[in-house]
Amino acid sequence: MRLAVAANAQYVAQQLADEFKKQTGISTELIVSSSGKLFAQIEQGAPFDVFMSADMKYPLELEAKKLLLEKPKIYAYGQLVLWVPDGKASPAALKDLLLSDYTKIAVANPQLAPYGQATVEALKKQQLLTALQSKIVYGESIAQVNQYLLTGAVQAAFTAKAIVLSPEQKGKGRWIDVDDSLYSPIAQGAVLLKSSRVNNYEDGRKFYAFLFSPSAKKILAAYGYK
């Protein structure tokens, strides 16, 4: 069965797929891309079964286009973190970003990525946005923001907690939580696609059910999702 997944959730999706296989013996192909691209492809009949988006905008849009078998459901709430590379003292608060240590700060494009939107919201609330404006560079997605940080192109990045908690990235740099009162919740929706009916309907439905099962919840929580 084919699982289309937004880049921020790619690690956890892999873990979920592994667990799903253990339980049902059904293997899962992951197609990782940005939510927007996946949306456009699904709209034109891409042969995916389940789509894990980074937000609720695309799932609702798909529903409006009558491409779903069920109403979209929220599988997790994403958490925003501030990530800095090794060798820098971790900032105690967001306002530390004003220090000259941080020449460039990566933020996901708020127009496209829910994490970017949350970042802007948080910075605004702390009245830091204008002061930091000249330092900010935009990544197309959370994934690019991460690349900017790991390649040393920027000295700080706002990313998803799921990234820094993943076994793959654990221990790289330091991070602090962004207080979740500073931004509206990042609701991430998953959908069961109509195209699944010609594809792997049974398997798709099973995975979709599994995604909202307690064992999946546990895995999601381990990646910092609420």
Binding site: Q10, I31, Q41, Q44, G45, Q147, Q169
Partner: protein
């Protein structure tokens, strides 16, 4: 060890696209090089036009065009049962469209620079335009033909935005090396991305080096000292 299938797919796509472009592009180049038709500049401009939009945007528009829900895509399915979305054939069609100018323009410009009486001499020998083209004109623009072929091949290997958009990155079907590298890089598996890139570069480099070495010593310059 990295999965080698995306690399194999990439080379297959590049090869098939190049072959198609030789078949389609050369007649177009031939026509453009000798046509005095008023519409010629229009045709030339149209051929270069796809370059102007980013591949992912072209891909987006092709996605819409090829969709069975829309007129063209629906027609393809109902009349020929051809599906171009999320299939290898679709990638070929997209790449052919996008790389067309890389094949057509270099060959066309070289043909235009040939002395005209080469073709004329061949005609006096009773040879048709087609035969003249393949036996006389084309062999005499060999460097340009190689340029066109290499640019097309390399560019298709490196094509990404378009392929991702209309291919959907399905493993074994449309997930070519460029998509795989991109995915690995997005997953922050820089090591895997480096490995893919390195293999792609090494193989391509060997191919390119072979082509250029075989083609060496074909300059018509005398050693001027």
């Amino acid at each position: 060890m990295a999965d080698l299938q995306p690399l194999w797919l990439s080379f297959k796509l590049a090869a098939v696209t190049t072959i198609f472009l030789l078949v389609i592009g050369l007649p177009i180049a031939a026509w453009l090089s000798e046509s005095k038709c008023r519409l010629k500049p229009l045709a030339e401009a149209l051929i270069s036009l796809p370059l102007v939009l980013p591949p992912s945007v072209i891909g987006f528009y092709l996605l819409i065009a090829f969709s069975p829900a829309n007129a063209f895509g629906g027609w393809l399915v109902s009349w020929f049962n051809i599906r171009l979305l999320f299939t290898f054939s679709g990638l070929v069609v997209g790449s052919v469209l996008y790389s067309l100018p890389f094949m057509v323009h270099p060959v066309q410009s070289a043909l235009q620079s040939l002395p005209r009486n080469l073709a004329e001499a061949s005609y006096t020998m009773g040879r048709s335009k087609t035969e003249t083209f393949f036996k006389i004109l084309l062999p005499n623009v060999r460097p340009a033909l190689i340029t066109g072929t290499v640019l097309t091949f390399a560019h298709t290997l490196g094509e990404f935005g378009l392929v991702l958009m209309i291919g959907g990155g399905l493993p074994g079907v449309t997930k070519v090396a460029s998509v795989a590298i991109y995915n690995e890089a997005e997953a922050l598996n820089f090591h895997a991305a480096h490995v893919y890139s390195a293999i792609l570069l090494v193989i391509s480099f060997c191919i390119l080096l072979t082509v250029y070495t075989v083609n060496k010593g074909r300059t018509n310059k005398r050693v001027v000292i």
